[in-house]
Subunit: 318 residues, 3 copies
């Protein structure tokens, strides 16, 4: 089957998921992001790479944080950005997603950043857009959030160098996380020999072991001797659901505290995709502590998104 994300020449055409992306492509994105790192530190944070391009933030579910990262990345590349919050407009008029996309395409759109509550929405759009248009999945249901996964890889590489000798633990609500799947996929592709998921049974998807991960139900065991600990966000609606006794109980068992962190390697880094629930999945002492790289993740996220946009805008066609 042809990967819809790559051109026949193997160039990046869309970014929909990290599943199936070759290691070389992942590394190329990370290298490109590295080259954008300095833009954010300049006095004039602006490069002309996407000047005169029309980029649409097509958000079918609201997300100020993710929308903002893409908007600022696009503006720093001099693109024209238009934000569309579709939940509150055309959809209420009964227009289909494809009609919306076809309309924006007819306005000479160059790129769609798509956030949607349903898994597969970005793929669906990518299958139907004109050849010169690129789609970036900014989160679709429980499925994928590839730029988040990429910025996580970028973070790990920045702090740990090579991937080949790492032990990485992903802790928390793997079941509902669109980030976890992207992370597991990328970590494996990039050669991490040991990826663990740490969670109560009720928050693990069935068959997760087939992704090549080790399963741990005990937090201290799960993060023992790890180099990287990736905490997942526990969404509010889960906390009072049937799957969990309570937020307090969850924190006791799976919240990352300094005491639990002591089981990991002394130089282990702590990551979190944000926004954090302090006192639920992570203790403030750790979140703000010396091993936390949570804010650098955000910084890298801009560089990674600039890199992806630059590659899509520049490389897809030739």
């Amino acid at each position: 089957m042809v990967d819809p994300q790559l051109t026949p020449q193997g160039k990046l055409r869309h970014l929909l998921t990290l599943d199936g992306l070759p290691a070389a492509t992942l590394r190329q994105i990370l290298d490109t992001a590295e080259s954008f790192m300095d833009v954010g530190e300049r006095d004039v944070k602006k490069v002309p790479l996407l000047r005169g391009k029309s980029i649409f933030n097509l958000f079918f579910e609201p997300s100020t944080r993710t929308r903002t990262t893409f908007e600022i990345a696009a503006k720093r590349m001099s693109a024209d950005v238009v934000n569309l919050n579709i939940a509150t407009s055309s959809q209420t008029k009964g227009e289909t997603i494809l009609d919306t996309v076809a309309n924006l395409t007819a306005m000479h759109a160059d790129m769609f950043i798509v956030r949607h509550g349903q898994s597969g929405a970005a793929h669906f759009i990518a299958r139907h857009v004109a050849p010169h248009i690129s789609v970036i999945n900014a989160g679709d249901g429980r499925h994928a959030h590839p730029t988040q996964g990429l910025l996580d890889m970028f973070t790990i590489r920045r702090y740990k160098g090579a991937f080949q000798h790492l032990r990485v633990a992903i802790v928390g609500d793997v079941l509902h996380s669109r980030v976890a799947r992207s992370q597991i996929s990328a970590l494996t592709t990039l050669g991490v020999p040991e990826v663990r998921v740490v969670a109560p049974k009720t928050l693990l998807p069935p068959g997760v072991e087939q992704l090549g991960v080790q399963i741990h139900y005990d937090m201290s065991e799960g993060i023992r001797d790890c180099d990287v600990i990736i905490m997942l966000r526990l969404q509010n609606e889960r906390m009072k659901g049937a799957r969990l006794p309570s937020a307090q109980e969850y924190f006791k068992q799976y919240g990352l505290t300094a005491a639990k962190l002591a089981h990991a390697k002394p130089d282990a880094i702590v990551m979190h995709p944000g926004p954090m629930n302090r006192g639920v999945e992570i203790d403030s002492e750790v979140a703000d502590g010396p091993q936390s790289v949570i804010l650098p993740q955000v910084t890298y996220g801009i560089a990674v998104r600039m890199a992806v946009m630059a590659m899509l805008a520049g490389g897809g066609g030739d």
Copy 2:
């Protein structure tokens, strides 16, 4: 009576309605739009014509689609665009429309794009703005939506060349359509000898025949031998109202299907202002078929809006 849209020298000062605009002005707008057609196809979709101008999207009722077309058109002309969704803010603080407009004028606004639920709102604003400010009506109640009417004329000219030998049918909810009136007016002004409206009696405004159109209640008869078929959107709220039996029944009688389309000329084009209700006013087979020019309409809409903005910003004063 002085036309508020034209300067004493006959230049375009506001665009409020197509009613009463001379054919020469209409043609000038279409010609100017033609000159902007290539901007959308460039690698760098950007011209400096409105650089440093402040354009306000003043939307008193929400419309992502229309707002987006104006926003992208303005950005491609390098203007500074500010979106104001007034329904949710100042109006709740009890400020009058004129105070809002006076305030934005005091901020050195150059142009207002106005969408309002009440007919005449854009005219009202235009009557009160300072001499250097232009107003574009982006839809006011049931009254007018002139840039939509203009892009329809642009589409017809592109596909059919001259207007002088055409037979045009406008089909559907003429009663509630702010587009239909603009279209009838422009078609007549541009010399189309035969304009028909096709609709159930309950969806025709009283006295519509005085606009110089032929009335048809039967769809097949109404579009017979036509060169252009313009389908109107049937708004959801009408479908369950007293005026119509049901959406299914409406589709049966007035929905454009391939079978009905066969009554028109073989090279007839099918237009729709969007967003479409597939299966209500138009069948997908037709909407996506070879005679449909619905997506080109969107593309032309950007060029037409750029043209209008350029003419207003450049030509009103001298």
Copy 3:
């Protein structure tokens, strides 16, 4: 105590309140604003001063009007502006203000424009941001709205020249006004010898006389022989509260009419921060009359905001 708004060298680092700002700093801002006055009148309203800077409109309570003034000021200085309406997004995800700010900082933000319903919010943020980031308070609870206070000073100076011989009356809901306190503070600092507050007892904060103002309960007495009359907005929710009999009664006693205005000096100017409640705190005859400088205030507001942004972006670091 160190003033968090100034660097050790006395340069402006944040703009949080006018309380405690030295007269020299106030005058420097007004002088800088004067130099920006011509930008709004140019054909190309654009200067490159903030090109490549990332400015975030961080609005925790909605305000189209204030947000618009900052957005247009920032765009005229060529900044990249991102609007965040936090009420509807991250906060619902349970993220703290400081986490939101830390995240935006990690995206290499340069400036935050903060509007918040709670007094002290902008100060709180300013205390926690990185050294290169500036915060502008765009209104926090009942506390301060310093750019409004500054534009009022700019207006008075423009119309009255020096401050040293003026008699200024501030009329209305001083209790709930975040503007009044900023005004009293700035007027006193700039040397206005007589500042009066005119209001019913129920709309005056306890201890207001300690701010160095004269208190008047009678409107005609309160504005007698004044050079400047600043009307405050009466918020809708107050009108039906326990503190006031009714809007009609309020207008009768404290609404500025031509008859009452006759008690002031013949060349007195009338100011209002907007949005106005015509017929409640001010009569339309006065609001639109020859002594009203309400719309010039708006114009000056853009220049003042450009000045503050330019000073913060340029001067804080050295």
